[in-house]
């Protein structure tokens, strides 16, 4: 089963293709402010490099975030409208799960970490053998230290700096944390989506929505104001 995966939640347009067993191609295009301008072109380039046509693609995986709010709005809209227009089954994959997948660890606890844009605020989660343990974490990276009780692989972009903060917060973690530097990855999204589609788990493409994990500032403000009143 040939599955196209896209993820634009970070500062790359990540596009990859899996045939359900292995990765056929894995591309990462730098995109800081121009993810919208580039993304469809990037998909076209990737398909051409893999010598595939869109009609040969049998499913689409979409990185839902968390990450850049603009990035995930663009990526999820492109993913769902491609799936709708080309009549392909679709599967939404959280970017945290896709990052965890890049470690290929089946036994160790994996903790993907994604910058939440402001200061040391991050999005994170824990996975073991591909299964999420507990809820998503949104907050200061320091507060993640208290949640780490066993050896863990930290994975993400600029991950060394997060390890340093955690070790500073809780020196005992020094020997418990290994790190893997990784960006959002299209091939990982494609592989996970292929597994999900093989099991017949498809979603209505139109229902796909970005995973923000954080309310917009306006909503936070209005809710606070309401409580005070």
């Amino acid at each position: 089963m040939i599955v196209l995966g896209i993820d634009t939640s970070g500062y790359v347009n990540a596009v990859g293709i899996s045939d359900g067993r292995q990765v056929l191609i894995d591309q990462s295009f730098p995109a800081r402010t121009d993810s919208l301008e580039q993304i469809v072109d990037n998909i076209d380039t990737t398909l051409k490099k893999a010598k595939l046509k869109l009609k040969e693609v049998e499913g689409i995986g979409v990185g839902l975030g968390p990450g850049s709010w603009t990035g995930i709005k663009v990526g999820v809209t492109v993913g769902k409208m491609l799936a709708f227009s080309a009549e392909k089954p679709v599967c939404g994959i959280t970017t945290l799960e896709a990052l965890a997948y890049t470690t290929h660890s089946r036994t160790k606890l994996v903790c993907p970490v994604i910058s939440a844009g402001v200061g040391d605020a991050v999005y994170a989660a824990f996975y073991k053998a591909g299964i999420q343990k507990g809820d998503f974490f949104t907050g200061d990276v320091k507060d993640l230290a208290a949640l780490i009780k066993e050896p863990v692989i930290l994975v993400g972009n600029n991950i060394k700096s997060y390890r340093d903060i955690l070790v500073k917060q809780k020196p005992l973690l020094k020997n418990k944390i290994t790190i893997k530097e990784a960006m959002p990855n299209g091939a990982a999204v494609a592989c996970l989506a292929a597994a999900c589609l093989k099991q017949g788990k498809t979603e209505d493409p139109l229902s796909l929505t970005p995973l923000y994990l954080k309310e917009s500032t306006a909503k936070v403000f209005v809710n606070k104001y309401k409580v005070k009143k």
Partner: protein, 335 residues
């Protein structure tokens, strides 16, 4: 030729099917009125998130209502210029994906050009050249429509758009959102001459607008009345304020008509639904021997049918956008 239009530049998620630039098969609009009322206006990030949630359903609904499938669609037209950046992005991302997946042409358009076409779509006999006044909560412009899709911008607002002034005054008076229709309704029971509010820049030769001073004058007067414990004739305030806006818009438009020696006026945008504005334009233009046109009420506020109509005109001229189409929130009206 069947065009799918997509418009998400502000707070309406909309899609439409228009055949040959003049036959509307469907026009689906999902408003964000619930969010507007909650926040007292448009919050860009909140609006953009809603677009991303709804865009697919709205497009599907437009196809279903028009009894068509994507197989029948010959091109996609989308608002890519002027608007809220995050909101524009959702529409353009959707349009590109459809264009790519179906291998059909894509055209990105300026939002104001859409409004100009809303009136052409409503009145197939609207002659070109003409002077277009586009007036809403987000924009306020005088445009010389010289030829099909060829424009000269004569003036624009320097601060608040007229519709924005309506919303802000209404909010201050404790009225509902959006302010335009509420003030319009309330004004019908009020005395238009009760208060002499300023007609901003009405004597200036420039064709630019400024409504922020007028808004402040209304608010200051309102505060003064409260401080003095006087009664608040809301309908009189609304009627007098509305009259000042209408007088200014009409005077500036007539000045533009005379300057360009034009014979035709097209009033368009959300505020063109205002009954008093239509009344005064109709009276004044009749006296001066100028023809005046207004869009159908359903095409006054933001909609995708107008974008499809404008897209049809551009595609007929051989224009296309490529898959790298981007958004430009502050782009001037070109072409």
């Amino acid at each position: 030729m069947l065009i799918l239009g997509i418009e998400t530049s502000c707070d309406e998620t909309s899609a439409a099917l228009v055949e040959d630039g003049n036959n509307i098969l469907s026009s689906t609009i999902a408003t964000q009125l619930d969010l507007l009322k909650k926040y007292g206006g448009v919050v860009p990030e909140v609006a953009a998130r809603r677009h991303a949630e709804l865009i697919g359903y709205v497009i599907k609904e437009a196809l279903n209502t028009g009894k068509k499938t994507l197989d029948d669609v010959d091109a996609v037209a989308v608002t890519s210029r002027q608007g809220l950046i995050g909101c524009l992005m959702v529409g353009v991302a959707a349009a590109k994906s459809i264009s790519y997946a179906r291998q059909i042409p894509l055209i990105g358009l300026h939002h104001i050009e859409g409004h100009i076409f809303a009136n052409i779509l409503s009145n197939p006999d609207l002659p070109i050249p003409h002077i277009a006044l586009t007036v809403s909560g987000g924009h306020n412009m005088l445009v010389h429509v010289k030829k099909n899709c060829r424009y000269e911008v004569l003036g624009a607002t320097l601060d608040d758009a007229a519709g924005e002034a309506f919303d802000k005054v209404a909010k201050f008076l404790g009225l509902d959102f959006p302010g335009g229709p509420v003030i319009d309704r309330l004004s019908k029971q009020g005395n238009r001459k009760a208060f002499a509010f300023p007609r901003p820049m009405i004597r200036s030769k420039e064709l630019d607008f400024s409504f922020s001073g007028l808004k402040t004058a209304v608010i200051n007067m309102f505060k003064e009345k409260i401080a003095n414990g006087e009664s608040l004739p809301l309908s009189d305030i609304a009627a007098s304020f509305q009259e000042a806006v209408v007088d200014t818009l009409v005077a500036k438009t007539i000045r533009a008509v005379e300057e360009k020696n034009a014979k035709v006026v097209s009033v368009t945008g959300g505020v063109s639904a205002n009954t008093r504005l239509r009344e005064v334009f109709t009276e004044t233009c009749k006296k001066k021997g100028i023809q005046v046109f207004f869009p159908k009420l359903s095409l006054c506020t933001d909609n995708a049918a107008m974008i499809a109509a404008a897209g049809y005109a551009r595609i007929k001229m051989g224009e296309r956008s490529d898959l790298r189409l981007n958004v430009f929130p502050n782009a001037p009206l070109g072409g």
